[in-house]
């Protein structure tokens, strides 16, 4: 039941912000501070999510095979690999490290 509540709330919220953008008169959100904040908000969230989903196991911090996978993804990004290859690198390296029993 909790999962359905989460799905419902997320669906409504995400649809509402999409629609708001189309309906709000131009200029209302065009203030520089609002635009800067809107651009920085995803940066903060994505950075925190990347870190937590790599190093968190429940409420404890761990260093496991996922960290190796993330390093592989970072290397792929530095080499300007396409999106797909970045994700594939993370998945393959994580699986590889687990297969040899290191993670």
């Amino acid at each position: 039941m909790n999962i359905w509540i989460a799905i419902g709330v997320t669906a409504l919220g995400c649809y509402a912000v999409k629609l708001a953008g189309l309906l709000v008169p131009a200029g209302a959100l065009e203030r520089p501070v609002v635009k800067r904040l809107a651009a920085l908000l995803p940066v903060a969230l994505l950075a925190a999510l990347t870190a937590e989903q790599t190093f968190a196991d429940g409420q404890t911090l761990v260093l496991d095979a996922r960290a190796a996978g993330l390093v592989a993804a970072a290397v792929a990004l530095v080499l300007r690999a396409p999106f797909l290859l970045v994700v594939a690198a993370a998945v393959l390296v994580t699986a590889g490290v687990r297969a040899v029993g290191a993670g």
Binding site: N2, I3, W4, I5, A6, I7, V9, T10, G13, C14, Y15, V17, K18, L19, G21, L22, V24, A26, L29, V33, R36, L37, A39, L40, L41, P42, V43, A44, L45, L46, A47, A48, L49, T50, E52, Q53, F55, A56, G58, Q59, A65, R66, G69, L70, A73, L77, P82, L84, V86, V87, A89, A90, V91, L92, V93, T94, A95, G96, R98, A99
Partner: protein
Amino acid sequence: MRDALGVGVAVGLSGFAFGVTSAGSGLTWVQTSALSLLVFTGASQFALVGALAAGGGPFTAAAGAFFLGVRNAFYGLRLSQVLALPRAVRPFAAQWVIDETAAVALAQPTRRGARIGFVVTGLSLYLLWNLTTLLGALGAGAIGDTDAWGLDAAGPAVFLALLAPMLRSGTERAVAGLAVLLGLGLLPVLPAGVPVLMAALAAPVVLWADGRRRGEGTER
């Protein structure tokens, strides 16, 4: 055209990865598909199932997903000027206001081109994203232990790939660094899902510090 194909392949594969991740997080295939049909904005969906898997409450999990979706409002603002949609059409067009459709539509030189680009990208990605989500969710059962295949690393890699092009200046890097510290530092002491929301505060904090520094600079 090659770009469109590249976007399509990337979206299709992340749809599959989302389906698998969501199934691995304990959602049924019906719940997983409902997310892709109703939410249809990838980063928010990954964030939601990740937070639920970590034991987050439904509202904290949804809040993180919601804040990630806020950027779509700003795409909508730009798009409504470029597309000039009749009011009656807007509620239907809204669901397709995402990173990829905005990128394609805003890159077109004419209104006609932008409208065609928006509809073609929106429709094809909507179909592809939902189809591959379903395949991923159903396929996860056949794959068995998704962790053994390293698929739990797909979520963070997707986030990192979305984040990397945003880190253009020192301000963005400062926000990202502070957010990581807050997110990991608060993880052991706050309920699941809440640390990510606290990490979002890195954005206004750095913006405020930046404004102060710039203010002092002009005074001198």
